[in-house]
Point group: C2
Chain length 262, copies 2
């Protein structure tokens, strides 16, 4: 990595970066964007950077961690024009989209905890869910084909680098669920489910979380063999609901807390 | 509520609505905005609407639930110009800011679970936290003076109406903590804390959650007498972290699950 004098961003670079907001352009260019030190460094450990723009200070401190591409030194005002964030980060990068990961073997579902997402639409929610999976040691996330793209810039930012350590496979959920061994616990949260705080939860299996407004679709719900409920505080009324990323986190923590002897 | 012919939004109305994004203008006008059926109806049960703009269909179905002000019938394209959301809602309203709520009595903290927020900055996070408090039966949230304003439109939207049932008091946290009885459990999450999944948690007390990047400030941390940890999956490394709204939800669920016999 050489430290040349600052380059000026061309309009073409600006347009290319902005176009990566759209899934269509990410597919065409084979690139996705990421911003900020934590996100860029963690993704650079796993994905191949195609272009990296950073301030002189950032390059001095972190430039050596970027391999395979020269980091372009730019002014903070150039980054301000590129950024999608409210405060300008010292580094913005475009990474090569990885090949779509393969579905795990069927035996995987009997031995591990897997999260399935049925039509999650909000990129902030998906990003927060992936960040939580990273913390909870859930490495495979299977998403319905109409779930938001995990390389959407808002997803990437909300994962805080967690995208580097979690795999998201997009597939037809009912078809996949149909192939699973009948002994696999397929869990979902429903208003008439068993209290997740007192239920005897399995060590492995599938947890399905549904769309923000509509929950789990009927076709997917048909495959659920463990209906669970995250109960609200006694006496609260029916108007409350939980954000899907919050509900996912509470459910995953209930599956994982047994590892710690409770 | 009369059903007159559709009004046309003036530029002044548009500008006034847009100005409510800023805390300064919310204070000057004494108003805050809310959008969408769920949010508007739940807030209208508690706060006083000053102006409500809705489609003819919305008025036919829900107009009777709005008291004290005439609902203005507008075209969907007018709402599209007013909205802050990515998909246009059928109703947008401005409500009167309530008077700042009072701090609970000191005895309250010995008998209830209270959430304190130390410099939470992201409006989406605060909104999600208030929505979770609504679900978890946590009615009083005490926030540091530099926590994001709970009437910020992004907060209001993320609460999904929960703002109608939770009170947020802004105050100097170290000064308040200093007045609490020494027997009150003051809990916070730290990397060197006790595993929250196995700790014997109190029924009441204070849970403090900190800033997105920096955690709990030293001054507030000094008042913590129960240091807790949400452990990550064994074997994961140190780069992961949890979103503050997710960490709050997991911690609150651990306090509340004992109500259900675990």
């Amino acid at each position: 990595m050489k430290n040349e004098s600052a380059v000026q961003l061309t309009n073409r670079v600006r347009k290319e970066f902005a176009s990566l907001d759209e899934a269509k352009w990410r597919r065409r260019t084979g690139l996705f964007p990421a911003e900020g030190t934590k996100c860029v460094l963690e993704l650079a450990a796993v994905f191949r950077p195609r272009s990296v723009y950073a301030t002189e200070e950032w390059i001095a401190e972190h430039g050596a961690a970027i391999e395979g591409v020269e980091v372009c030194r730019v002014q903070a005002r150039d980054l301000r024009e590129l950024t999608r964030l409210s405060s300008t980060p010292p580094v913005i990068a475009a990474f090569e989209l990885p090949e779509a990961p393969q579905l795990p073997d069927r035996s995987y579902f009997s031995e591990n905890l897997t999260l399935m997402l049925d039509r999650v639409q909000d990129p902030g929610n998906l990003g927060t869910i992936l960040r939580t999976c990273d913390w909870m040691g859930v490495r495979n996330i299977i998403a319905s084909e109409d779930t938001v793209d995990c390389f959407n810039p808002k997803v990437v930012q909300a994962t805080m680098g967690g995208l580097a350590r979690t795999k998201v496979v997009y597939t037809n959920l009912p078809a996949l669920l149909d192939t699973l061994d009948k002994s696999v616990a397929v869990c979902g949260t429903f208003l008439d489910g068993e209290n997740i705080y007192t239920a005897a939860l399995p060590d492995s299996g599938v947890l399905i979380m549904g769309n923000e407004g509509k929950g789990i679709s009927d076709e997917v719900a048909n495959a659920v063999n463990r209906r669970l409920l995250i109960p609200s505080y006694p006496g609260t009324d029916k108007v409350e609901s939980l954000n899907v990323a919050v509900a996912t986190a509470i459910a995953l923590s209930q599956f994982r807390m047994r590892l710690f002897g409770q």
